[in-house]
């Protein structure tokens, strides 16, 4: 991308940011969801932590890693619905007749959505800290945790955007998102240790990018700089992101008939 394209990304980001800030529901959801998850899951499942074979540190320590990545998984639908909104409001057609860099339209949006992922991840970490959760890898680990959440969020945003650009329907984005989110969320290592999953679920978890992201965050929180887990996660997320964002960019082209 050249110099102008970066400016385009910036201006599109500012626009998306202003719109986000002025949509109180999104702000409320983004701020409330991590609190809700942390309280609900740790209260409901807290006895899990006492089961034999459960990783040391208790359930809250364990589940915090899952919840940090759960936020981007859920928030990703905003990316898809925003794109649908931009298509149906005529904004996208308007953009396509301006000299704006084409991919910048997408990346400006994604920059906004990345920030909307970092905020709940930060809130979750702060709240978990208050509940006695620790991050064994310290400040650098925290940065890597935030990066992991943002990177995973990017790949998920790509998915909902690809659905949005293809179907041009906010209902389809929200509906499909749920159908995709639930298996990804429950058939994963987010809330239950891998060993506790039935065999078929383990097999799914092995290909579930969400599990990879959770495992990386969990390693950074509880085990240390376990690079094989962390880099495996980044490789899987990178492939997932390349496919979903690539599909969105490809569909973007076909908007120009």
């Amino acid at each position: 991308m050249d110099h102008d394209a970066l400016f385009d990304v910036w201006h599109l980001f500012i626009r998306a940011g202003k719109k986000t800030i002025r949509t109180p529901v999104i702000i409320f959801g983004t701020l409330a969801l991590p609190v809700l998850f942390l309280v609900l899951f740790t209260q409901i499942f807290t006895q899990f932590g006492n089961l034999p074979g459960f990783p040391a540190g208790g359930y809250v320590q364990f589940a915090t890693a899952g919840i940090i990545v759960l936020n981007p998984l859920i928030n990703a639908q905003y990316s898809g619905t925003a794109v649908v909104d931009d298509i149906n409001s005529g904004f996208l057609s308007k953009m396509l007749v301006t000299p704006v860099n084409r991919p910048a339209i997408l990346f400006g949006r994604l920059l906004n959505d990345t920030i909307m992922v970092l905020i709940p991840a930060g809130i979750t970490l702060a709240l978990a800290y208050a509940l006695g959760v620790t991050v064994i890898t310290g400040a650098l680990g925290i940065l890597l945790i935030l990066f992991t959440a943002a990177f995973f969020g990017l790949s998920m945003s790509g998915l909902t955007m690809a659905i949005g650009v293809t179907t041009k329907s906010a209902q389809v984005v929200a509906g499909l998102d749920l159908v995709i989110i639930f298996p990804l969320m429950f058939v994963s290592t987010a809330l239950v240790p891998y060993e506790f999953l039935p065999h078929w679920a383990q097999a799914f978890s092995n290909v579930n990018p969400f599990s990879y992201a959770v495992n990386a965050v969990r390693a950074l929180m509880s085990t240390g700089f376990d690079w094989s887990t962390i880099l495996a996660a980044y490789a899987v997320i990178a492939v997932f992101a390349a496919v979903t964002i690539g599909a969105t960019l490809y569909q973007f082209r076909s908007v120009e008939k």
């Binding site: 102008d4 201006h11 949509t23 308007k94 301006t98």
Partner: protein, 327 residues
């Protein structure tokens, strides 16, 4: 150099041929109208000129820059006011304009001044910092026009600029369009299915039907074509028979039977009507009503397409309003 030139412009969407060979030459500073019913191919033609739809064949250029080969250059030369406002509801008028100016790379030092100018032009200065959601339909359209002008385009496209607006607002928008065209010498192309709009605004008009231009001239010349007066007789039964009879009269220039109404062009309507009524009586054909008016573009449209634009417009207009309401 021509502001706009197209040569056998053709567009096929899957199996629908939307535009079937359009040839245009539009001079700098001209206010040119594309007139036709919905689905005639006006918007597709404009979309090709604006680089958002790729022509299937043929060529189009803006100030000599081909829309297929140099889309980037073309995009910098043109401004567009869309049929449906594409403003950001959650941003203020000023923020919408600022964002737009940045994307068009309007020099940083000039942006504030230009925003002030265009807002004054469309009389929205006092609403500049209000969120667009709170604007009325007419205000949104005016802001949209202001935005189309911000980067000083050489050609401005207006796609149905007054669709769905009340008569007073429409007249207001017409005034802006005329003033901009005269004062700033901006070449303008507008699409419309409002006859009066085309008549009032355009230097030249192309009537588009089924993807083709069926007539192209100044509004006056087009009207002159139809004749001095248009007489319309309602004939529920025996229209065809009456048509044959009246065609034989020497002073009748043309006849057309559309939806149970016989339309006749004549030089002097006042003297023709009694004769027409006599013929009808002799033939025993009932004529419940008869009317007379000077030719309008509506008559020209009917002459070239054999259809009334209004019936279709009313239905489409309703559907459009409906669609708008749902959003």
């Amino acid at each position: 150099m021509k502001a706009i030139e197209t040569h056998d412009l053709f567009k096929r969407f899957e199996n629908v041929e939307a535009v079937k060979g359009i040839n245009l030459e539009i001079e700098e500073g001209e206010l040119f109208g594309l007139l036709g019913p919905n689905g005639a191919g006006k918007t597709t033609t404009i979309s090709m000129l604006c680089t958002i739809v790729r022509p299937t064949s043929g060529s189009a250029s803006i100030y000599g820059h081909d829309v297929k080969k140099e889309p980037g250059t073309v995009r910098g030369l043109i401004g567009i006011v869309f049929q449906d406002p594409s403003l950001d509801d959650n941003l203020t008028g000023r923020e919408n304009l600022d964002f737009h100016g940045r994307l068009y790379k309007v020099p940083r030092s000039e942006i504030a001044g230009r925003i002030k100018d265009v807002l004054e032009l469309v009389e929205l200065s006092d609403k500049a910092d209000v969120i667009v959601k709170k604007y009325s339909g007419g205000m949104k359209r005016r802001l949209e026009i202001a935005r189309g002008l911000l980067h000083h385009p050489k050609v401005l496209f207006l796609d149905e600029p007054t669709l769905g607006l009340d008569p007073q607002t429409r007249r207001h928008i017409w005034e802006y369009i005329e003033r901009l065209n005269k004062e700033k010498q901006i070449t303008m192309i507008l699409t419309t299915h409002y006859m009066d709009e085309a008549d009032q605004l355009c230097d030249r008009i192309a009537i588009v039907d089924h993807g083709k231009i069926v007539a192209m001239d100044t509004p006056d010349n087009l009207k002159h074509d139809v004749g001095g007066d248009v007489v319309i007789m309602t004939v529920p039964n025996g229209g065809e028979q009456l048509k044959v009879k009246l065609e034989q009269l020497e002073f009748v220039k043309s006849t057309q039977l559309v939806d149970g109404a016989l339309r006749l062009s004549v030089d002097k309507g006042e003297t023709a009507i009694p004769i027409f009524m006599d013929v009808a009586r002799q033939e025993g054909i009932a004529v419940p009503s008869i009317s007379l008016h000077e030719p309008t573009l509506e008559d020209i449209f009917i002459k070239y397409t054999g259809r009334e634009i209004r019936t279709q417009e009313a239905a489409d207009g309703f559907a459009n309003m409906h669609a708008r309401g749902r959003r």
